[in-house]
Amino acid sequence: MTFLSPLILVGIFTLVAYLSNVNSDSVRTITILDESNLFVDQFEDTGSIDYKPLSDISFAEAKELSEESEYYGFLYIPKTQTIDELANKITFYSKDSPSLTIMDDIQDAIEDKVNTEKLQEAGIDSKKIEELRIQINPNLETYAGQETSKLGSGLKLIFGGAAGYLLFMFIIIYGNMIMRSVIEEKTSRIIEVIISSVKPMKLLLGKIFGTTLAGITQFLAWIILIGVFSVVVTSVLGIDPSTVQTPQQQMLEANGSGAEQIAMEVIHEINSLPIANLIIMFILFFIGGYLLYASLYAAIGAAVDSETDTQQFMMPILMPLILAVYVGFFTVIDNPHGTVSQVFSFIPFTSPVVMLMRIPFGVPMWQQIISVIILFATFIGTVWFASKIYRVGILMYGKKASYKEIIKWLKY
C-alpha cells in the first residue's frame, strides 16, 4: 500500500487533468440574433466559446437552426424602445442549463455594453470615466505594524487548514491502526503470551509510539513518492497536473494582475508568516494531539472483542475531533481571535486542530505554550486511563464491555 497509494493518487490527478483538457478542447458554439444591433462586436470568441452572429433571419428560424445544428446555445436580443427595457428581455436558449462560467461571460459582455450606452445617452463620455476611475488597493496593517493583505489571510487559512486537516486525517487513520492491532492481539490470543514478557503499560506505549513512527514514515514516503511520480508523469506523458484549473482561477488570471505578480505576492506573504513558530508548534501539537487520541483508540481496542463492537465507543472520540474541524473551518476563519476560537484552542481534545489553524493568524506565545502544556498534561491523564482499561480489557474474552463495566475496570 505504501507504494501503491501515491501511484493511484497521481494516477487520478493525471486522469482528471487529461479529462479536463479533453473537456475544454470541445469548443462551444453560441448563436446570437441581435435585433437591436447594439452588440455588433461586443462578443469576442474565447478559447472555449465560439460566437456566431446571425442576421436577416427571424427569431423562430434562428431558434430552430440553433437547435437543429446542436449548438450549445442561442442568445436572443430583441429590439426594444429603450435600453432599460432591454435589460429584462434578453433570453438565452440552450439544451441544458448553461455552465456558470459561460453565463458570466455573456452577462459581463451585455452589461458592459448597456452601461456604456446608458452613459452615452446621459451625455457622459465613458472614456473619461475610465480615466477618472481610481483603483483602490487598501494597505492592510496590524497595530503592531505587520503588513497584512487579503491574499495573506487566504494563505494563512490554507496553511492553518492544511495543518489542522492533516492532523485530523492522521489521527483517524493511525488511531484506527492502533485499535486494530490491539484487537488483533486479543482475538489471536497472543496477548497473554506477550504480557507475560512485557508489562502492559510498556506494550501500550510501545504500540502507540511504534505506530506513530510507522505512520510518519508512511506519510513521508507518500509525499516523496507523490512528488517522484508527478515528475515522471509530467515528463513522460506531457500532462501537467497543475494545469487543472478551476473557473475561479481562470477568471482571476483573466482579470489582469499577471500570474507572475501573484506568485511574487504569494512568496512575499509566505515569507511574512511566522514560519518557525508554525513548524515548531505543528510538531508539538501534532505529536500531542495524536498521542492523546491514540491512547484512547488503544483503550477501545482493549475493551472490545471485535471491530464490529467498536461503534458505541467511537462516537465520543470522533465527536470532539469533528467539532474541532468544524470550529476550525467556520469559527476560526470568521474570527481567529474570537472567544469561541480561543476557548477551543485550549480544550485539549480540540486544541491541536483549532490552535494549528489559529497560529498563522498570530497567536500570543503564552497562549500557545499554555495550550501545549494542557495538551501534554491531558495526554498523561489519558494514557493512565487507557492503560487501566487496557490492562484489564486485554484479558477479558467474550464479555461485551459496556461503559458501566469499563468504569468498574478502573478500580481493579
Binding site: 488483533e184 489471536s188 497472543i190 497473554e192 503470551v193 506477550i194 507475560s196 474474552y397
Partner: protein
C-alpha cells in the same frame, strides 16, 4: 526439600468478586506441581499473579529466594490456556521476536530455536505463516516458544488441549524431560489422568480457597480407606458372603477374571491389617485376587470439592 516458588497468603479481588483468597503454596524445586480445581476456582488468576500479569492485593510470591520482580519474567515460561500467535506472521520471525522479549539475544534465540525445531521435526515450517498451519501444528510452535529460553519455572495451563493423542504424548515426554533437566513445572489441568501420570505434588483450589495440598502419595495415603478388592473361590458362596457381611463392610464390585469367584470390595476397620484379612479369607476358600484400593486423583478431587 528446596522450594523454587513460595506464595504467602496471596489474595486478589475483582470488584466484589474474590478471585483468590489467602492462597499459600510451596512448589519444590524439580517437581511437577499440579494446580487443580474446578472451572472458575481461581487457578488462572493465581497463575497470572505468578507471571506478574495481575498484581495481588495482599501477600507475596517468592521465586528462588527472591521476592518476585519484573526481571524474573526471563526465568518463567508460561503457556496460557487462552493462547495463540500472530496469524499472518511467519513462524520463525515470530518465534525470534518472542524469544527476544524474554531477553535472549538474536543469535542465542536462533540457536535455541534451531535446536527445538529439529527436536520436534518442524524445521521446514520456519517460513510458513501460522494461518497456514493446523491447530496442532500451531500448538507445537506455541510449546517451543514457551520453553525456548530455558526457564527455571514452567507454567502450563491445560497444555494438552488442541493436541492429538500422539502429539499430546510427545509433549508430555518433553515436559518430563524438561523436569529431568532441572526445570520446575506448574501444571494446571482438569484432566486427572495426566495428573496421575505426571504430578508429584498437587494443590487443590476451589472458589478461591486452597482446600488441599501436598505430595500426591501422601494425600493418597491419607485418603485411603482400608479397602481391598478381593476375589475368593468357594463351594459355599452364600455362607461366605453372610460371614463377610457380618464382620466387614462389603461393597459389590466386578473385575475381569478367568475364575468363577465371589467379587467384593471389603473395608476393614483401622485396627485390622491387610494380613489379618488375607489370613481370614484364605481360611474361607481360595484367594484369587487381592488389591488395595488406592484413591485416584479423580476420586480425591471429586470428594474434596463436594465436601467443601
Amino acid at each position: 526439600m528446596e522450594k523454587l516458588l513460595v506464595a504467602n497468603n496471596v489474595s486478589k479481588t475483582f470488584g466484589t468478586h474474590k478471585a483468590i483468597n489467602n492462597i499459600s503454596v510451596e512448589v519444590p524445586k524439580g517437581s511437577v506441581f499440579g494446580l487443580l480445581g474446578p472451572n472458575g476456582a481461581g487457578k488462572t488468576t493465581f497463575i497470572r499473579v505468578i507471571n506478574q500479569i495481575t498484581m495481588p492485593d495482599t501477600g507475596e510470591v517468592i521465586l528462588d529466594g527472591e521476592k518476585l520482580q519484573p526481571h524474573h519474567i526471563q526465568y518463567i515460561g508460561y503457556l496460557p490456556e487462552e493462547r495463540g500467535l500472530y496469524k499472518s506472521m511467519k513462524v520463525g520471525e515470530q518465534a525470534l521476536y518472542l524469544a527476544q522479549l524474554k531477553g535472549l539475544s538474536k543469535t542465542e534465540a536462533k540457536e535455541r530455536l534451531k535446536y527445538w525445531f529439529d527436536r520436534l521435526e518442524i524445521g521446514d515450517w520456519w517460513d510458513k505463516k501460522i494461518q497456514e498451519l493446523s491447530k496442532g501444528m500451531a500448538q507445537k510452535i506455541q510449546f517451543v516458544v514457551t520453553v525456548m529460553h530455558n526457564p527455571k519455572l514452567l507454567i502450563f495451563d491445560e497444555p494438552f488441549s488442541g493436541f492429538d493423542p500422539i502429539n499430546a504424548n510427545l509433549i508430555k515426554d518433553e515436559i518430563l524431560k524438561l523436569r529431568d533437566d532441572g526445570a520446575t513445572i506448574i501444571f494446571s489441568t482438569h484432566r486427572m489422568e495426566s495428573v496421575e501420570e505426571m504430578c508429584d505434588h498437587i494443590a487443590l483450589i476451589n472458589k478461591g480457597n486452597k482446600i488441599l495440598d501436598g505430595k500426591l502419595v501422601d494425600i493418597k495415603r491419607e485418603y485411603k480407606s482400608n479397602t481391598y478388592e478381593v476375589g475368593i473361590q468357594t463351594q459355599y458362596p452364600d455362607v461366605v458372603t453372610a460371614d463377610l457381611k457380618e464382620k466387614f463392610t462389603l461393597f459389590p464390585v466386578t473385575f475381569k477374571s478367568i475364575n468363577n469367584e465371589l467379587q467384593y470390595k471389603i473395608q476393614i476397620p483401622e485396627t485390622h491389617t491387610a494380613n489379618d484379612l488375607v489370613t481370614y479369607l484364605t481360611s474361607k476358600g481360595e484367594l484369587t485376587h487381592f488389591v488395595e484400593v488406592i484413591p485416584s486423583a479423580n476420586d480425591i478431587f471429586i470428594e474434596t470439592v463436594r465436601n467443601n
